[in-house]
């Protein structure tokens, strides 16, 4: 490729050689055009972006101001405007730019777009964060150090951020955000001066952090739309695509939609995934002393759907590049001539490059429209193209596509008369007929198959369990195949025609109800269920989930109201609200629902480092520390992240020091999913990040080993090891449970005593279900007289049982018959010391065995009778085992030990074949009773969906993937009473 630039040197030839420097300096580049391309002298000003644009309207409102407090925060759970941020506002939109001192997500400073929301009633901000970068390394993100305001009302207002690349101070960047009256978007121009010594490849771009389950990017390219090439940081070059614009829309009806359009080029480069998009100028090799710039218009429009945002993108391109569009209007009817606006009905408009039946590779999706309440729709499409209109409902194509040409200024399409759905009304009540907040789960039954009713969002977010697909799996109810029943005890929703089981549940400690229905198109059916509490939990026990996400997390779209409703529907008593990097309390949602008394929410956070910095021994790439939960924290919406700490570039110990000051009372720090693999290069579990080997001892101080990382005091305060609890169960993955269990046992063997917890890590209503698993917290706690400090003390002391169904009621009984619960306190056994074990469960929860683990090895197993014959929907026959086990059966007198009691289905046979890291990674895949090379190292097969005859069917329907399991925290047996001595690693 031949680069531009030749004309400049030509002028230097004539006048001379050496002195040509000065002449060229004066003659080649008129200074007034340079803005900050020659670097930032503190005075330079990038020129006004998108100069060809002009929007007119009657309203002249325009302003720029600092955010004063929480009252300036736009609507929407993703809104994060906080004191110090900057608001640009006109009659059409509110934009919040991050204050310099406030880094967010992957950006090392403020200066990104924090909130962008249309100024229409009920519109919700959906933007996690948009910021500038020139590459994928932390070095390449813009670190702004100063912001200047330009107030030239009534013409425009602008904020100009000045700074440099984070770890390349010699590369300067200046970004101008400009807002004009009437305009539905921000004009943005970034200028970058390359002052480093070597040529540098730059991809000047806006990084748009979607976070997996929030906004979904839509790219109008061949085979594109919502489908994107797989994003792998090691081969990211393969994922680059040029496009006319990028749009994004939310899962919620009120959620805003966005579009980004380059102003200085007909195409923009970028890569896209559900996690992240980067949109900007083409990749460029920039020589030292040279510079690059890029301009774009970031548009925002009300939802639902993205057609209003794509309309803006077409308008911008029409003005800047003269591209023509066609105004397309139409009407949808859903059976019997009824107009019906619904989020589940959407219309995908694709340019046909071949015939109408061709594959995705012969189509360019240009827009998706969602009909209004009256069934009408209107949008713009590129002119002179051959289009198909494909209706979708319940995540599937609905009827045949309509084909048309955009050969005129305006087209009115024929009426789309589409098949009508069935409608189901479900009532759930207690046995006394009072309404009950509950969850409904639908599963197809013969002759309807899952394949016939499974759906997805145009191929994105395709979940096996979303059959029938009632709504986007990451949005509010109905989501996937689930519906929440509110305080009224009744829910009405549309269902694709078919045959289903409808389950009603209030969590694993209540009875389960089910009905079979056959639904025809247009048919309206009503069902009623009664549920009753089961006598499973001992007195003084509360169930708690210490790892829960909602829409405030960057990777969730679940509205607060539905998240709060799910707490009650799943029968969880105490919640630690642990959104990623933001403190939530759900107080408003619970208040609106009138459910404040049904659940206690402790505001907390899941710290989620994004900026790679950690260099554990032997690591050839930088890492992050994974995720930690902290609760209770003070919830302050006037602060960035509602008061959550800045957690970037902090080792765990330093983070513990920092959070210590933010606790509301005495807090709990929890190590989350310790060995979970990294996601897009970001480590999610600390023990995996440092490559902790559970077979090796943690030294007393850092010694250059992986294990030594745990003993470091990075800020001379806490050690990296000084968390209070660690997850032993997280969600329903059996593989991860077994790995975390190994890590926990390793710590217990070394006398590193941390409470073992079991949490759902739920981000949605559907795919990771709240309360599966959960903790049973002992200690005489009640919801009515909830004492948070005392409750958290029980958590720190490990007075816990973790479970996704079985209830372990465990007592260590010594000579005086006092009952000691599992905890991290040592117990001195007297004569005839024994364990009293009561194991109870709802009838539909399968349990095979009771296990006694001593110092990490299963010392005793009690097989339990099979559950067949038990009525899964009954309320009796709850006790599976009750009896005493003498301590002498488990442990040798005189030698201190720890004992963990477990129950559930038999654990799968596993081995560590793949990488010899001490963690299970392979199952007995050929069923020969041993795990060996024939099983293919690294192939861990999670137990999948089972048929209705399998005892696991009902539990697995409620909590996909669940493998019935429960574990108690340890009993520490101190024989001599002179202090418990850890057994050490085997």
């Amino acid at each position: 490729m031949l680069s531009a630039g030749v004309p400049c040197f030509v002028r230097t030839l004539a006048p001379g050689l050496v002195l040509g420097v000065a002449l060229a300096a004066a003659g080649c580049n008129p200074a007034e055009d340079w803005g900050c391309l020659a670097g930032d002298d503190g005075q330079c000003m990038p020129r006004s972006p998108c100069a060809g644009l002009q929007f007119t309207c009657a309203q002249s409102e325009l302003g720029i101001r600092r955010v004063a407090g929480a009252e300036d925060r736009p609507n929407g759970v993703k809104a994060d405007a906080a004191a110090g941020d900057i608001v640009l506002e006109n009659a059409v939109l509110t934009a919040v730019l991050g204050g310099i001192e406030t880094p967010r997500t992957l950006a090392p400073s403020g200066g990104g777009v924090v909130d962008l929301v249309p100024r229409v009633p009920d519109a919700l901000d959906e933007l996690n964060h948009a910021f500038q970068a020139v590459g994928i390394l932390p070095d390449d993100a813009a670190r702004y150090t100063r912001v200047d305001w330009v107030d030239q009302r009534p013409e425009f207002v602008a904020a100009v951020f000045r700074g440099h690349l984070d770890l390349r101070p010699e590369v300067e960047i200046v970004t101008r955000y400009e807002l004009r009256a009437c305009e539905s978007g921000l004009r943005v121009r970034s200028e970058i001066y390359q002052g480093s010594r070597d040529p540098l490849t730059m991809f000047p771009a806006d990084a748009l952090f979607w976070g997996d389950r929030s906004l979904t990017p839509f790219v109008p390219i061949v085979g594109g739309g919502y489908a994107h090439p797989e994003l792998d940081l090691e081969t990211i070059g393969d994922a680059f695509r040029d496009s006319a614009f990028v749009a994004a829309d939310a899962h919620d009806e009120q959620g805003a939609a966005y579009a980004i359009v380059a102003c200085d080029s007909r195409t923009q480069a970028g890569f896209h995934s559900e996690t992240l998009s980067a949109v900007g100028a083409e990749r460029t090799l920039v020589m030292p002393g040279d510079s690059v710039a890029f301009e774009r218009f970031i548009a925002v429009a009300p939802g639902p759907g993205q057609q209003r945002a794509t309309d803006l993108a077409f308008e911008v391109r029409a003005q800047l590049f003269g591209e023509q569009t066609t105004a397309v209007t139409g009407q949808t009817l859903r059976g019997e001539g009824a107009a019906r606006g619904e989020r589940r009905l959407s219309l995908l408009f694709s340019e046909l490059l071949g015939d109408a039946s061709g594959p995705a590779e012969t189509r360019v999706p240009w827009a998706e429209a969602i009909p209004d309440e009256d069934g009408s729709f209107a949008l713009s499409l590129p002119r002179n193209k051959h289009f198909s209109l494909q209706p979708f409902a319940f995540g599937r194509e609905l009827g045949r596509a309509m084909v048309f040409d955009t050969d005129r200024d305006a087209i009115e399409l024929p009426v789309l008369d589409l098949a009508e759905p069935a409608t189901l009304t479900v009532n759930v009540a207690r046995t006394d007929q009072t309404p009950l907040v509950a969850e409904l789960v639908l599963v197809p039954r013969a002759p309807t198959t899952a394949d016939e009713v499974r759906g997805s969002q145009f191929g994105v977010f395709a979940e096996e369990r979303c059959a029938p697909y009632l709504g986007p799996p990451h949005a509010g109810s109905p989501a996937c195949n689930r519906v929440l029943v509110g305080k009224s005890g009744s829910a009405r929703f549309d269902v694709p025609p078919g045959n289903y089981f409808v389950y009603a549940s209030h969590g694993p400690f209540w009875s389960l109800a089910r009905a079979a229905v056959s639904l025809d198109a247009g048919e309206k059916t009503e069902l009623s269920f009664e549920l009753s509490p089961l006598s499973l939990l001992p007195d003084g026990v509360l169930s708690a989930d210490f790892h829960v996400h909602g829409g405030a997390s960057y990777d969730s779209s679940l509205p607060d109201r539905d998240r709060a409703l799910s707490f009650v529907a799943m029968g969880v008593d105490v919640i630690a609200a642990t959104d990623h990097d933001v403190v939530s309390d759900y107080a408003r949602a619970l208040g609106e629902l009138g459910l404040q008394r049904e659940v206690r929410v402790m505001p907390g956070v899941e710290t989620t480092g994004q900026i790679l910095f950690l260099r554990p021994p032997g690591s050839d790439v930088p890492r992050v520390i994974g995720h930690f939960n902290f609760w209770p924290l003070r919830h302050n919406p006037a602060l960035p992240r509602n008061g959550a700490p800045d957690d970037e570039r902090q080792e765990p110990g330093a983070l513990f020091d920092r959070v210590e000051r933010l606790y509301d009372g005495r807090g709990v720090a929890q190590l989350n999913h310790p060995f979970l693999p990294s996601d897009l290069g970001r480590d999610t579990g600390y023990l995996a990040a440092i490559e902790y080997d559970p077979r090796r001892a943690v030294p007393s101080g850092p010694d250059g080993t992986h294990e030594g990382e745990l003993s470091r005091r990075p800020a001379n305060g806490h050690r990296n090891l000084d968390f209070d609890a660690q997850e032993v169960m997280n969600g329903t993955s059996v593989e991860q449970m077994l790995r975390y269990r190994v890590g926990w046992f390793s710590f217990l063997n070394q006398g590193i005593l941390r409470a073992g917890t079991a949490n759902s890590d739920s981000h949605t209503l559907a795919t990771d279900v709240l309360g599966y698993p959960r903790n049973l917290v002992f200690g005489g706690h009640t919801l009515a007289n909830f004492e948070r400090e005392r409750f958290n003390q029980s958590v720190r002391h490990g007075e816990l049982v973790g479970t996704n169904g079985p209830v372990l009621d465990l007592c260590f009984m010594d000579a005086n018959q006092a009952c000691a619960r599992p905890s991290l306190s040592a117990l001195a056994p007297g004569a005839n010391a024994r364990f009293h074990v009561a194991l109870r469960a709802a009838p539909y929860v399968p349990i095979d065995e009771l296990r006694f683990v001593v110092n990490g090895s299963v010392r005793k197993t009690i097989a339990l009778p099979p559950t067949s014959g038990r009525d899964p929907f009954g309320t009796s026959d709850l006790t599976r085992f009750e009896g005493d086990i003498a301590l002498s059966e488990l442990a040798s007198a005189g030698t201190d030990c720890w004992i963990v009691i477990e129950a559930g289905l038999r654990l799968p046979l596993v081995g560590d074949l793949e990488d010899d890291d001490g963690l299970p990674d392979t199952t007995d895949n050929n069923g020969d009773g041993r795990v060996d090379a024939a099983d293919v190292a690294g192939d861990f097969r999670e137990p999948g969906r089972v048929t209705e005859n399998d005892p696991r069917f009902h539990l697995e329907t409620l909590a996909p993937g669940a493998w019935s399991s429960a574990f108690g925290n340890p009993f520490l047996i101190d024989w001599s009473g002179d202090g418990w001595v850890a057994p050490g690693l085997p």
Binding site: V21, L137, G195, M287
Partner: protein, 288 residues
């Protein structure tokens, strides 16, 4: 300017004075080193430390020749997830004007660059810079010739979008004949670059000193071994590198030169791992 660069700069007038004094002592005729039996006298290894051969001491002896100069370099900084590959080929000419004077011309090279910033990659193919130079050989005695020179860079490099890079270099080439088959070559080079971008100039000055031994056991073979030292002032000053280098010259037929050269910068701010040079030239022997 860094301390090392400052020292070299201060030494420059003294060296120039020495050169002038030497010239007064020299015979009017061309010094013997340039007329020796060596297949090609006074030539350092031809490498591309900087555009258009800047940063490498040019030949010390007058001759008319034309050649194609290929250059390549590789920088692989794994810790920084950075890589840079550059390769170019340029026509070079030298034209003897008088007994001791000649001009040199380095035409714009065809230049390929590839840079990886982690896995974000880009490459360019375009023109590189050009240069013209004037060289004057001063015979100090029967064994030593000193050649002050001046070269000016023409900013042809199309790799720049908004900026333009200018430059000049002056210096002193030297050749000391140790025996009929062995000479020491080298000298001082003072390249300076000025990248102009909208009123802002990024100035870089990279003085270098190099010395090489050239062994010519036969009329068709030359072996070059030596080293150079560079310092940098201006932007990011400091010790630039110690550059061990080697070259192999073949003269398969009279007048035809094939040279393969390599250098490996060590220890300094220049992170380049390897430089390669390939020169295919024709010496107009009657011009010697």
């Amino acid at each position: 300017m860094g301390r090392a660069g400052t020292t070299v700069m201060r030494a420059l007038p003294a060296l120039a004075t020495l050169a002038l004094l030497s010239s007064t002592l020299s015979s009017p005729a061309l010094a013997r080193p340039c007329q020796s039996a060596l297949p090609e006298a006074g030539a350092s290894a031809r490498l591309g430390f900087a555009p258009a051969g800047f940063g490498s001491v040019p030949e010390a002896c007058p001759v008319t020749d034309s050649s194609l100069q290929g250059t390549a370099s590789a920088l692989l900084a794994f810790d920084d997830f950075y890589g840079l590959l550059e390769a170019g080929v340029a026509p070079r000419f030298r034209r003897r004007l008088f007994d001791s004077d000649w001009v040199s011309l380095w035409l714009p090279s065809l230049e390929y660059r590839f840079s990886a910033n982690a896995t974000i990659e880009a490459h360019t193919l375009g023109l590189g810079d050009a240069a013209v130079g004037y060289h004057h050989a001063l015979a100090v005695n029967q064994r030593l010739v000193l050649t002050p020179y001046l070269r000016v860079l023409y900013p042809f490099d199309t790799g720049y979008r908004n900026a333009t890079r200018y430059g000049f270099e002056h210096g002193l080439s030297a050749s000391l004949l140790l025996s009929p088959r062995i000479e020491l070559v080298g000298g001082l080079a003072f390249p300076a670059f000025f990248t102009h971008n909208g009123g802002r100039v990024l100035a870089v000055f990279v003085p270098s000193f190099e010395t090489e031994a050239v062994l010519s056991p036969t009329a068709w073979l030359g072996i070059v071994l030596g080293a150079g030292v560079r310092v940098r002032s201006g932007k990011q000053p400091g010790f630039e590198s110690f550059d061990p280098r080697a070259a192999l010259r073949l003269y398969p037929v009279s007048g035809l030169r094939i040279e393969l050269a390599a250098a490996a910068p060590l220890w300094g701010g220049d992170r380049t791992d390897l430089l390669l040079g390939l020169n295919l030239g024709w010496l107009f022997l009657d011009s010697r």
